[in-house]
Each structure stands twice: as C-alpha cells, then as structure tokens.
C-alpha cells in the first residue's frame, strides 16, 4: 500500500522527455491529481480576473513594464547594485551555477554555517544548491511546505508555484508517516501542523536563510518576495545571514512598477488578489534594530539568460514573472506533470527557457512537445508569445549544427538530413501544380492501397484514407458546369 502510494511517475535521472511522458501518461493517480489541480487553478485565475478589459489591458501593461526593464537591463542592474550596496546589501554576480554555488559556499564558510533553511527559490533549484551544499557538509532544508514534501520524497518540484501539486493528501500522509514517524493521518491541517513543528525548529537553528526574489527594484534597492506561508519571512528575517539568489532578468525600474506586476502575478498564479505576505527587503539589520539578518547578500545569476537576451525575439522569454499560469492552462503539462520535463522549469515557460539554461542539446524534444494550441500565450500575464517562441526554437533546433552565427547553445540538435530531404520533397510537391495534381490523382485513385500502419500516426488513429476524388477535381467539374 505504501509503495503503491509513493511510486514516482518518472525516473528522475532521465532527461528524455518522450520517455518520461510515456511513463507519466500511464500513471492514473498522477493524471487525476494533475487534472483536478489544474482545473481548479484555471477557475481561480478567471474568478480573480473577471473583467476582460482590466485583465487584457493589465497584461499589456505588464508586458510593457517588463519590456522597459529589459530594454535598459545593464543600466538597471548597475543601479540595483548601487542602491543595494548603499543599503548595506552585498551584491554578487555569477555567470554559471558553479560560480553561484561557490559564492554561497564562501559565505557559508565565512560564517561556519552548518544549517541552511530555504524559502522557495527556483534559481536555487537551477543551482541544485541543496545537493551542492550537502556535498560540503552543510544541511540545506526546504521550508516551503510543497518543497519540503518533495525534498522528503527525494523528488523534484512538479510546478514552480505548487511543487507537490502532483501528490494527493493520502500520498503525503504516507510520506510523513514513513519518513517522520508521524501517526498516519490524511487530515491536511494536521499534516501542515507537522511540517510547521519540524520546520520551526529548523528556522530557529539555521545559520543562513536562502530565498528567491520576485522583483528586484533598481530605484530603491529593494528585493520583493511574495508568499503565503511565512516561510519566506522566516528565512529572510530569523537566521543571522540572508542570501537571496535570482536571475539577472528579475530587475524592474521603479517601485511603482511592481504594482501591476504583483497584481498580475498573484491573480494569474493562484487567483489571489494578493499573497498573504509581500516582503520588501531593502537591507540588513541596522545598528539600532533588534532583529533581522546581520548580513544580506544578493547573488545575480546569468546561467544562459544573456543568450536569450541577445536576440530581440527570444528576449521576450525573460519577461517571465514565474506565475505558472502557462502550466496550469497547458494540455500537455496537465497530462504529463512537471517532472516529466526533466528540467527545473516545466510546462510552456520551461520549454522556452530551459533550452537557454541547459542548451538545446539537453532539451532537444522540448520545443516540439507542444501542439501550439496557444493556451499559454493567451493567459501569460506579461504576454510572452510562447507559441511563437516555441516555433522559433524549432527553427533553431533543425539548423545545421555547424551553421554560422548560432543564437543558441546546442543549435541543430534535431538536425536530420533525412527529415530535411522530406521537407524539400514536400516543398517541391506543393510548389509544382503539376506534381501536386499528379500526386492528388494517384493518392485518390490508389486509396485502396493506403497502408494500415503509418508509423506513429496509426498508434492513435486508423490510417487515413484519401477521398475518391480530390477537391481540385470536384471543384473543377462543379465550376465548369456553371
């Protein structure tokens, strides 16, 4: 019974999206947990944004605020650093996750830290910070309830906002019972109180608190962090040292810019007008203050973002404010769950950002794993044209690997001379009216010979049988009769 409840749907080590998806699709529990959760999140978003005029104009405004910040990104990053430094925050820059981890380790070692408590941070997931710190004898514990559950079960988050959304209460009950020795209960309140009790002790003991950042305000040197649980507040105010880690794209110009973005973020993500807590952190404890961290650090991580930034079209990827609405509305994500992507960021945004973070060579199937239905682009609060960007990545993915001026790491990871030849044939067929009509003639006349098996198509479908006569023929006859 226990084992049944806790079989992870996918092999976590696998980065093979198709393989993972195949396994996930066969996991009935996962499928029903995900469908139920995504349906609810979609309904909540719509209920929180009922006014179409306000919603659509605010999305446009959110897009403009983010685009304005990106259009001045280097200048704003320098301004952010200057203002944070003036406020007493130490700012670090890292091009790679290795550099970022080294910075965190250096801070930890300077404080002889043994325990790190973490608020929710997707960038720290990019860094695999927990694993890295544990390798150096430092315990790194997640404190977001969902992240904590995932960490206990040695899994990866399935969603950027709701990391354990693929699990139901029964599965969590088994997990807490098995790993924490708690009496078995499926009562969610009691399960949460267990988490609270365990983690409160950890907040108390921790030497360092780590958090992410939702918006970094250049104007005032302020790190804004949204959350419902209070673990973000705990992580950033109780331990003597606070390390915030974030991507270089998270900066906005002015404090007022967070007003539309905050409203878009919480309503798109959870259907909440605001989260329980909005933390605005502008510096460490001042000399006369009685609490708060003595030191605050900010690590600004590139990790492939500057690659996306270099191309005006792909730069739009960096508009993202990490609300997760694209996942909640994605028919693919809903069916395979987040872990099947094998990337830190799953779902539609994951498919367009991961190729920059990891290279197309490590995400070769991600751009193709979409029907381009457009549900993601329709709800994105900052109007990232996700389907267009997926199509663009497909284009980069089938270029010759050695084609000049690559815009992507891993360009051409799906380059196939055979497939290219097929498309060249397709082009010839469709640009030569004579050839096209001849093809149509034979396809219709020989329709009895349509093979019963047509590769992957007939996995889900009967083989399509052409009609007896093409529209070209029918139309010619019909119009000639007139």
């Amino acid at each position: 019974m226990n084992s049944q409840a806790r079989i992870p749907a996918v092999e976590l080590s696998s980065r093979d999206l198709k393989h993972n998806a195949h396994n996930a699709l066969g996991d009935a529990q996962l499928r029903s947990n995900m469908r139920k959760a995504m349906d609810s999140l979609m309904a909540k978003r719509l209920a929180a944004m009922p006014d179409e005029y306000e919603r659509e104009h605010l999305r446009e405004m959110g897009n403009h605020v983010r685009a304005r910040a990106l259009s001045r990104l280097p200048e704003l990053l320098e301004r952010l650093e200057a203002n944070l430094t003036r406020n007493g925050v130490k700012v670090h820059w890292a091009e790679t996750v290795d550099e970022a981890n080294a910075i965190v380790l250096q801070i930890a070692e300077a404080h002889r830290a043994k325990q790190v408590i973490k608020g929710k941070s997707m960038v720290s997931e990019e860094m695999e910070m927990n694993h890295f710190l544990e390798g150096h004898g430092i315990e790194a514990l997640e404190s977001d309830m969902g992240e904590y559950i995932i960490q206990l079960d040695h899994e990866k988050p399935t969603h950027i906002i709701m990391p354990a959304i693929h699990k139901n209460a029964r599965q969590v009950a088994h997990l807490f019972h098995d790993t924490l020795g708690e009496p078995y209960t499926e009562d969610v309140d009691q399960l949460i109180q267990t988490g609270r009790r365990v983690l409160r002790q950890k907040f108390f003991e921790a030497d360092i608190g780590v958090s992410g950042v939702n918006f970094a305000v250049a104007e005032t040197g302020t790190l804004l962090l949204v959350e419902n649980e209070g673990n973000g507040r705990m992580s950033t105010t109780v331990p003597p040292v606070h390390i915030a880690v974030t991507g270089i794209e998270k900066v906005v110009e002015n404090l007022r810019d967070v007003v539309p973005l905050l409203s878009l973020l919480t309503r798109s993500a959870l259907g909440q007008g605001i989260t329980t807590y909005v933390n605005l952190i502008s510096g460490p404890r001042q000399a006369d203050e009685l609490d708060g961290p003595q030191e605050v650090h900010l690590v600004l991580l590139d990790n492939g973002r500057s690659q996306a930034f270099a191309d005006g079209e792909l730069r739009q990827t960096l508009n993202c404010i990490r609300c997760g609405a694209c996942m909640n509305h994605c028919p693919v994500y809903t069916r395979i769950g987040g872990q099947a992507y094998g990337t830190v960021y799953p779902g539609p945004i994951g498919k367009i950002i991961s190729p920059h973070l990891m290279g197309l060579e490590n995400t070769p199937d991600h751009p193709s794993a979409s029907s381009l239905c457009g549900a993601c682009g329709e709800v994105c609060p900052v109007k990232i044209p996700i389907p267009s960007l997926l199509r663009r990545l497909r284009e980069e993915n089938i270029k010759k690997p050695d084609a000049p001026n690559p815009v992507m790491r891993g360009q051409g990871s799906k380059y196939s001379p055979r497939e290219r030849l097929l498309w060249k044939g397709w082009r010839l067929l469709n640009t030569s009216p004579w050839l096209y009509r001849t093809f149509g003639f034979f396809a219709t006349r020989l329709r009895g010979l349509t093979p019963g098996s047509l590769g992957p198509w007939t996995q889900n479908h009967s083989a399509p049988k052409p009609a007896a006569r093409s529209l070209h023929e029918l139309a010619r006859e019909h119009l000639e009769d007139k």
């Binding site: 999140l41 699990k167 009685l290 500057s306 270099a310």
Partner: protein
Amino acid sequence: MMSAKANILAKLRKSLEGTQPIADDYDVALVTRPWSYPAEERIPRLRQLMEAVHTETHLTTTADWPALLEKLLADKQLPSLLIAPATAHGAQLAAHFAGREGLPRLKAYDRPVEEWKAELFDDTPASLTGTLGAIAATGSLILWPTREEPRLMSLVPPVHFALLKASEIHDNFLEVQQKQQWAAGMPTNALLVSGPSKTADIEQVLAYGAHGPKDLIVLILEDA
C-alpha cells in the same frame, strides 16, 4: 580575466547595441481606477477581504481598544502578550494593564533577538503591533517594522493582534506608495500582510498557520 559582472554586463550591452529603451507609458489609471472606493466602503471592503482569509476584525475606538484586547486575550486564553513598550500603543496598553491583577503578562521586545530567541519561539503565544495603514483593494495591512517594534513581532508568535487606524486605510498599493513616499526611502523590511499564514500545497486544500501566525486579529480604530 574579466569578472562575472563585467562579462555579463558586456554581453547585455552588446546585445542592446543600436536599440532604444522602451518608453515609460505607465498607466496610473489602470492600476488605481478599478481599485478606488468611496470612503464609507473602505472599512467594509477591507474587513470582507480579510475575513474571507480567516482574519478576525473588530471595530473599536482609540479609547476602548485596550479593554477589547483584554477581553480577546481572556477569550483566547492567552497567558501573555508581546508588546513594544516604546510605541504609543504599547504604552497605552501597558497603562491599561498597570497595577491590575489576573491579567495576561505583558512582555516587552526590548533587547536583541539573540538574547531571548528561545523564549520568543517557544514561550510567546501572542503579540500586538501597530500598522502603517492598510489597503482596501487587496485587504492588506502595511507594516514597517522599527527598532521599537521589530519585525519578528508580527511573525513568530502564533497570534498576532494588529491596530489599524480607519483614516489610514488607503484604496490601493500605488496610492500608498505615493502618499507615504515609499520610493524616497524604504525601511530595511516593509511588509504587506493580508491574513494569517496559510498554504494550499497539499492537494490545494487550504490550511492556516503554516509558518507564520495562525491567527491574525485586526482592531480597527474608527475614530483614529
């Protein structure tokens, strides 16, 4: 070897060569007009939103709130209350409690947290703080912790009482930023608090009291 900072900035600058910054077309009306309320609607809206997420709210007055708080403490059987004695409201409550027997003990947050962290975590069931106002649009309290009233007061104790002056309930976040001139100088830690701590991380079932206070009780001073 160039530093990471220099490398990153050089790449970003190169990527922007020959381009123009996007103009600032910030639409003030869009983020304020849908979130503006007649004066008489602000308190009801704030209460409705906050109560919807399990906040307890009470209407009271500048003179009466200490007695109300005394009663609430008794109802909730809270043995002690953490206060900030150097604040006006801390002093007012202390005066109300002074010389009376059988009341919950008032504890003062008057020394660095390191000196009494265990007591704060394990033996401080409730706290009282002021607020810098509230936001009617989202049902949020504004807190700027100070030396006198430190940040952990509103976080660690499981029950948090907050005083709110009715005249300081603003319509929306942008209005607050402008009226209170946030951009001119931010404190080390500013907060919007919109209810007791909660989570929906298990099967989207809402549970209160995740890591922060389990109960948030707002005393609205109608005459202040």
